[in-house]
């Protein structure tokens, strides 16, 4: 198929906008598949006995690169393929286990256009289980300034993430 038109453009957005929440039932497969896809072989992400006895947690738990991939998916589900990630900062507070229903929420905090004309959206994201925030992420993602713009065409000095 040929590329779809941008799902959203900068002018559609306002500070305070909420992104569509993502709700997902985490299983052992979610944890193990994400750990192996990110080449994280550490046993607390696939061996329950190890996690309980050595880490003191109740079960295996999501690794950080897997959570990063969930946050990326959450953002680009919203922006569509024209959205281009610039920067993400993670703060891990507590673990996410099989059996948890995780809910990822995001709020537009900042809208800026830099001196190259690139349109940036600052989004604060939280991953919660039963109203308890397990991790958070501050992200900066570029979106098309208008229908003819494409952040992926920017390179080197035109890309200031």
């Amino acid at each position: 198929m040929s590329a779809p038109a941008p799902l959203l453009i900068f002018g559609d957005l306002a500070e305070g906008d909420r992104l569509p929440p993502l709700r997902y039932d985490v299983t052992a497969t979610t944890v193990v598949l994400g750990a192996l896809a990110s080449r994280d072989w550490r046993p607390m992400h696939h061996d329950k006995d190890f996690a309980v006895e050595r880490n003191g947690t109740k079960d295996i738990f999501l690794n950080t690169p897997n959570q990063a991939a969930w946050f990326e998916r959450f953002l680009t589900d919203w922006t569509g393929p024209h959205g281009r990630l610039g920067r993400m900062t993670f703060r891990m507070r507590d673990s996410v286990f099989p059996g948890d229903t995780m809910i990822i929420d995001g709020v537009v905090q900042e809208l800026t256009v830099d001196d190259t004309g690139c349109a940036w959206v600052g989004v604060d994201i939280t991953l919660s289980v039963e109203d308890s925030v397990k991790s958070s992420c501050t992200a900066r993602i570029a979106v098309p300034l208008d229908d003819d713009d494409n952040p992926w065409r920017r390179s080197r000095h035109e890309w200031k993430p």
């Binding site: 590329a3 690169p65 897997n66 990063a68 991939a69 024209h82 080197r156």
Partner: protein
């Protein structure tokens, strides 16, 4: 007793420069997208990727995956550690425990299947001793830079670590 070990000779010096063990691989890209049910057509539809990103790319957040060592390789006797500078600092400063308190990823040129990436680790700063609820120790900031074989920067990960020793219980 408080003693200050000087590690300023390490600050700003590129260390552990290495080339990836394998080219960036489409199979891993699909496995990660499947793991998080990411249907972004950039990773699944070559024509869309061609039009928007000038060809297939890897999800930006997979950056660190391309450098996690194989769990085993011929001739290796023990598992190898990523972010070696973090563990070096623990050893050199005599701090038995360490955690990563914050992690930032910055994405530059897209990573593409077939790219062979290079990486290096650079210690940016180390604080004096501080006491937190975990114990007493020092915070440090490490950058991990990644570039492609064309010498273009593709990303930088910044880790803030806290190496510490648990404080002894108060004597009564």
């Amino acid at each position: 007793m408080t003693r200050t070990i000087d590690v300023s000779d390490l600050v700003g010096v590129p260390m552990y420069e290495e080339t990836g063990e394998f080219p960036v691989e489409q199979g891993y890209i699909w496995t990660m997208c499947a793991a998080v049910e990411n249907g972004n057509p950039l990773f699944w539809d070559r024509a869309v990727a061609e039009e928007i990103t000038g060809g297939p790319i890897a999800p930006p957040t997979m950056l660190s995956a391309w450098f996690r060592p194989h769990h085993w390789a011929p001739g290796s006797s023990e598992p190898r550690l990523p972010l070696k500078v973090h563990f070096d600092l623990k050893d050199r400063l005599g701090l038995p425990e360490a955690v990563i308190t914050e992690n930032t990823m910055v994405f530059h040129e897209p990573v593409r299947p077939g790219d062979v990436l290079r990486t290096r680790q650079i210690l940016r700063s180390v604080t004096d001793e501080k006491t937190t609820r975990l114990g007493t120790g020092r915070f440090w900031v490490i950058d991990v830079e990644y570039e492609n074989e064309r010498g273009e920067l593709v990303g930088v990960e910044t880790y803030t670590g806290f190496g510490y020793r648990r404080d002894a219980p108060q004597k009564r």
